[in-house]
Symmetry: D3
Subunit: 144 residues, 6 copies
């Protein structure tokens, strides 16, 4: 049983066919999982797309500020990895095409520490012109 961060990263990196299998395995370990895609030049839209997905999958109940706060900070940390430092896209002439995975559950390394959330982003970043982009990854983890 992989920890939540590795689980989120492997699902995000997976091809379509592998992804469903990895998600099923993760759920069998009582992890909540949601995935999605977003392409944009606005980092705020990445956060709001992930919040919508988290709500749809009931990782966020849509009401709890506590859960929203935990998710928000994990998402912002994942964005720091994508942007490799300062969070900015159109401001510095960049565009992204990203897959994301949110995994929520107990960390096998910290069984008695309640639920945690891992947010992973993986895809491409580059100038807003097809072909001028390379891969990027980001991972944020928080207690929820």
């Amino acid at each position: 049983m992989d920890n939540i961060g590795k689980t989120a990263a492997l699902i995000t990196l997976a091809n379509e066919e592998e992804r469903s299998q990895l998600i099923s395995t993760a759920r069998s370990f009582n992890y909540q999982v949601c995935t999605g895609k977003v392409g944009t030049m606005d980092p705020g839209k990445i956060i709001s797309a992930m919040m919508t997905a988290a709500k749809r999958e009931n990782i966020w109940d849509g009401v709890s500020f506590r859960q929203e706060h935990a998710l928000y900070d994990a998402m912002k940390e994942a964005l720091s990895g994508i942007c490799r430092g300062q969070i900015a896209l159109h401001e510095i002439y960049l565009s992204v095409g990203l897959s994301f995975t949110i995994v929520c559950g107990q960390m096998p390394t910290h069984k008695s520490e309640g639920k945690w959330v891992a947010v992973c982003l993986y895809g491409t970043i580059g100038a807003p012109i097809k072909g001028f982009e390379h891969e990027a990854i980001g991972l944020g983890i928080n207690h929820i």
Copy 2:
């Protein structure tokens, strides 16, 4: 054939047994690969450990400034993902235990664009006390 960033990430996330298999596959695609581990509170030591590994595996020939410059920037970007923004460890009371992978070769998505390098770091970050840490990941990519 996976792109260099995904290849570097999957090798870094792998267990010992899977790792050798993934490295062999990557090398069969003409990727150069080196891996290693580093535990420290000093980000500079992470960079110098990776440079030493890159030189050992001949990804860096130890003489070319051009190669060193390309590797350095990719390593710094990977560190930004680990630190999720500002690069700092002991300064803000943090310690890391990380595995790293460096993959060097042609990007399958950009066959005519020469060699590129991907640096991936994965492991744990937290207070310098056993048990107070969670996972982190970082990926940097550059032309070399």
Copy 3:
């Protein structure tokens, strides 16, 4: 007689009724004081709202670049405290509702060092949805 930073912070944190009393006391110590409120997702609007208030209260004469430069840097430092690092709001899906106070005068700890300015911001920051926000504070100080 409190220093300019503490004076600015206590006025900003005060309830309406306490605020007038604290401002009167500050003015009796020859401090210039102005206060205001701003709610936005654009950090630039916070700076321009504070500049307008500073001009109205004659802390900035509206002509001097020297004064404007001193105020600007203090305002940007206060914004760093609100954003806790990188200055960004809508870019990372955040909104603020803030009170601000600008206090200008001699520092009692540095009587011979001419006039200084303190800019304090206090209020709430969070997702642009009512209820998903918590408190934040920022203070910037500069010679003017």
Copy 4:
């Protein structure tokens, strides 16, 4: 009954005599409160001084990673306000003399959202030579 951030800020800004009164009032609202002082050129020492104080007052039980993680992030955010952006002291020839307050409890604005923690730092920052310093403040808030 003030919110946790304002409570932490007012206690940190208070004179010795006012402080005990403000702490008593805060405790009567079921807030846990601890205070302390730290002077240093090393931001990591500020975090470790606050962790020690939090443990002494049982805001951190010394065992829970979940609590430690919540406190750590709030402390780092408070340090961002003191440093007004990048967290660094001796690296950029700065020294601080700070009081701190940690307040833990339910937010009156979010009664059903469980316990939160507010960390406030206030004092002086400047060159490591007596007299070359001015005030700074920082506040971090997190769910715990």
Copy 5:
């Protein structure tokens, strides 16, 4: 024969009449040179204006991702010098009026290390009101 960074800086700092002479000298050393001007509150526009100029002068062939990636990173580094840290303009109520120079060629200090590029920006930064601005400079260097 000056190095590429000094060459780019001296051309950018020069008056109109001196500039043509400095460019001719640089070209006689086999440096490729392009210059331009840009005034904006949007850092992304500075990057896209420089890319357009680089393409016009054939420093970027308009097709190579490798060249574009090298130029982009050098441009972003030059912008960090203009903004003195975080890259942001309208977000923090700032406007710039800048000249830029891109110099491409072998570094005389590193003859065997292939081609490098230097990007220099120099001009004024300040509030978006005439007269409230001072000088700023930035230089980025990368292997290409």
Copy 6:
């Protein structure tokens, strides 16, 4: 008569022989000028070397906090240009060899705005191994 930033930059970029001539010209325009060199992996040492030089040349009288504060902020901004973002050297395995110039006086573009200071740093940055470095420049400007 060049503005203070351009004056500081041209002196810093100059060869030894040109430098004395440029300094004489600058002084004939009533600019105060001091220059120096510093090689280090510690950014704090760059600031303290420049403060010592400023005091020796009486740009800082060694007593005024106001002057020290103005110089400090200009120095930190110049360091941001050298480090191209986050200020860090040994932390991220970097070393610098820099010349610096401090110019103090009235800005010809803002005659009625009192004295300002420009701090320019120029030299090389890279791994702490001879030959693995390229040029960098930084400029900070403040009212004094």
